[in-house]
Symmetry: D2
Amino acid sequence: MQIGMVGLGKMGGNMAERLRRGGHDVVGYDRDPEVSDVPSLEELVERLQAPRTVWVMVPSGDPTRATVKALGDLLSPGDILVDGGNSHYVDDQKHGAELAAKGIGFVDCGVSGGVWGLQNGYALMVGGEEANVERVMPIFETLKPEGEDGFVHAGTVGAGHFAKMVHNGIEYGMMQAFAEGWELLEASDIVTDVAGSFKSWRQGTVIRSWLLDLMVRALDEDPSLAELEGYAQDSGEGRWAVQAAVEHAVPLPVITAALYARFASRQDDSPAMKVVAALRNQFGGHAVTSKAGSAEKGADSPGADVTPPVEAAG
Amino acid sequence: MQIGMVGLGKMGGNMAERLRRGGHDVVGYDRDPEVSDVPSLEELVERLQAPRTVWVMVPSGDPTRATVKALGDLLSPGDILVDGGNSHYVDDQKHGAELAAKGIGFVDCGVSGGVWGLQNGYALMVGGEEANVERVMPIFETLKPEGEDGFVHAGTVGAGHFAKMVHNGIEYGMMQAFAEGWELLEASDIVTDVAGSFKSWRQGTVIRSWLLDLMVRALDEDPSLAELEGYAQDSGEGRWAVQAAVEHAVPLPVITAALYARFASRQDDSPAMKVVAALRNQFGGHAVTSKAGSAEKGADSPGADVTPPVEAAG
Amino acid sequence: MQIGMVGLGKMGGNMAERLRRGGHDVVGYDRDPEVSDVPSLEELVERLQAPRTVWVMVPSGDPTRATVKALGDLLSPGDILVDGGNSHYVDDQKHGAELAAKGIGFVDCGVSGGVWGLQNGYALMVGGEEANVERVMPIFETLKPEGEDGFVHAGTVGAGHFAKMVHNGIEYGMMQAFAEGWELLEASDIVTDVAGSFKSWRQGTVIRSWLLDLMVRALDEDPSLAELEGYAQDSGEGRWAVQAAVEHAVPLPVITAALYARFASRQDDSPAMKVVAALRNQFGGHAVTSKAGSAEKGADSPGADVTPPVEAAG
Amino acid sequence: MQIGMVGLGKMGGNMAERLRRGGHDVVGYDRDPEVSDVPSLEELVERLQAPRTVWVMVPSGDPTRATVKALGDLLSPGDILVDGGNSHYVDDQKHGAELAAKGIGFVDCGVSGGVWGLQNGYALMVGGEEANVERVMPIFETLKPEGEDGFVHAGTVGAGHFAKMVHNGIEYGMMQAFAEGWELLEASDIVTDVAGSFKSWRQGTVIRSWLLDLMVRALDEDPSLAELEGYAQDSGEGRWAVQAAVEHAVPLPVITAALYARFASRQDDSPAMKVVAALRNQFGGHAVTSKAGSAEKGADSPGADVTPPVEAAG
């Protein structure tokens, strides 16, 4: 079928390519004229036959909001707009309502798959009305991986990005679980083959997974991860997952801990820990001079400052 | 090669069977005479040719300790004892030292694989001296899955169970991540196909894994998990992982949160929350009468008890 | 000075009373005619001499939004509206901007003190422009406790409620810390005087505090808290604190854990734990029949199902 | 009454001084001859009239263990040994049993109060048999603060240090709660008087406490805590509290989070976060070059690498 694709970056470009290989007629628009099939959004809409389907694949937040607004002014009743970016499901609900008021259908689609998607297909989580999803189904069929999985019509408008958000939350938790396991193994005196332990887990264990495969590949390249700095950015989805959980009164201890670990990893010096240090100074007269060492006598440890142990005195 | 197997329950029995199919000469002992090849540990040791290899496969803790002690008195210098149970690595270190004093080798082996192991092989994580591990290698080769993974000589005595303990800690974190994701999806008004969302993730996503496969199978059988009660036991390994982390000053927020979620799930009524309720009663005169409802006016909310909203008063 | 007070519930009524005792001229409005000095918001505004100061003390959320909107239409340039309820600081920022467009000043004021406030004064955290705060200062002086503390002009519009929100977040963390301590003491076999331990901490310790005093009072009334159910509601502020932290990339592990403990306490059966139980069933063939007992053999514990320990077999 | 005091450091020395001011006959021993009343433990025991009471005030762990062992060989049946250090309650139970076998009584005493104790008294948490505690009561009476609190006979041997351990766990949680509150206030754009906010909370709020007083004092000296590094050591008690909780299946999310925050604060680079970074690199081809910035497009964000937003393309 015919589809307009807005945003031809690595993701949008690859998806357009996969659709063309699948026999679809793709008209692409990008602000980079080198890769764009049309000079403007206006011409994109003109080039498509009504009822149109336009897939928006631009960064979430303001860029997506601006694109949806612009297309809302250009499209006609009966057309469908698909947001395939990483939008917040709350944005979807606004967009869906605004477009519905104009008779334009809206479908949100969370996409996973990254650089492997062109070859292997993209996992798609879709939200929207049944009739609208049906209309876009030939596109979804081509984009998704072969096999029975990799696609879900998760619910009404917003449900696709909600499901993707939860997927990413689970991903945070799983990554942190592997990370903590690695740190504990590394801290052990008796385990000498940490990388080998991870590798061994790829068969016969409960935790075998694609992330474990990636972990093993990373350790193959750099067995002690010496080349890496210990910090990580976070994407909007992890934050949104926690905020959605708080709004729904759902306890999310593992996913939140994984998110917070990322926040903390980006701090050179923890502000909160300055307070703990300050309080310890206040009640114990602790000199805070060195990060070295581990457990020491507590702030209000009675034995903290006694003279050396009696056994040395014999 | 010849091996003695002590403990012929489902695990030990299956492992003995896999070893026999692999051409090894297994002499099994179990206190149940129906399944035992010999009437006593003494005869087991007698039946084996020196230098002997005896694999202990009994419950961790006191049973394993007693068995290792008994065998320590029966075996001879040059023999090797393998503890394939779920022992604490600290126990391994004690056992290793005690047996070494008698010239008996000790190898600890964490085993994963459960009911699938007989057919598919067992993942093995092994600790001990190189020479001792070498001696048991033909056994390990038969027990492990085909392929290049599923076995690691992780380090010195205790390292096998340490690695298995960490594996189980990671498993706790991963399971809890999936669990939290499910709870958040279920809490959403807009996601109507929660089971389908999980199923869709099996292809093309970052979180595809054996645990996800199990999750999908569980949801196939009972899509809303209505038949299950929401609580879970925990094994020693999860607790040991947290305690080892604390001892090594390693922060383990995700694995610990997963463990605590299990603890809390087994409480009919949270003792800690009684205290929170008590404090709220004290400072707010809160009547604590019903679990219904979610967010309400906080303990020291100024507006908590004002008369109804002004807009109704018009 | 003269002030209009909108909302004469327990908080607003007591504050009006404290202001009158302090010599201020308070005109109160409430939709309950029994307690109201004027029959409508319109008459309230008429009764006040310009430039007016109106204090809004109604429930946060829609009631406050509606009241601020209504007053925005009635007040005149140069007047000041104070929101003393529990509003979200984001609402304050909207209200401040809307009123500023009409020349009306806006001050937000987080209030702590509850039922003791009438007698002892209310802790006030204030946000707004310097000039506006100055104008309301005589009112703040009367409402606050005697002494040098209990009042802060924390920053610009929203800062008062932001500070109050953080105060409540800290409160959550402190309450949960006491709660966990109590639970751990109760779980001990060797500590027989738990209530006495808390009482003893009121002197000479690091944790002495008003919350500890309340805890001791609660334990005096019911030493084992047997009369209470172990769950707790949460107010908006705790949730907002976590959401604000996530937005600012600030890790808040303790405050979030305290909030999640409240969420979990209100669930009869944890949805997440159903998933954990389901997964354990899948890989271990675990029968899930009883909450009794604590640590048991793990899901993929090799020794979980061996025959009884060898030592019994002797 | 007469008492031997072993360990005359700042804590032991001050306690000896407070006891002497209270009219007791204190014979002190320290391996530093400058401060010691007797040249050896042997002479200390000789100088005391049977039945003797000896208070051990040396660092916990090996020094205390060695001192208890040495005194166990020197004391006589009917004597009592008090361990006033920071011992693990598990050590107490061993020491109590060993001494009981010799007819020597054992009492453990957790002490709080630090440098203020000489003047204001020490909070004492005591474990042991009723008769033994009774015998030492005159000493406890003098050491404790005036007033009805500051002392508890918490239970059997070990209960005193168990209660002190829990006290310190609560302390960790409270400190971290204040610390997180400070970090969130500091992160806000609208709150400009963070130190003033803390100061204001000293009156009329739920969180007023000695720790808040210390916090205000610290902020008086250094309002933005600019002179401090953001890390903190931990004492044994915090670790023991978490380990005891795990052993008793008690969830301790807040206290554990506080402990882990300290662990993490001492890491220059988080090992776990190297793994997260490695995994992100693997699946996203992420360049990991800079800690700057906060939320960015997630690892498998489809829109992460699209060309700039369409609105700029107009």
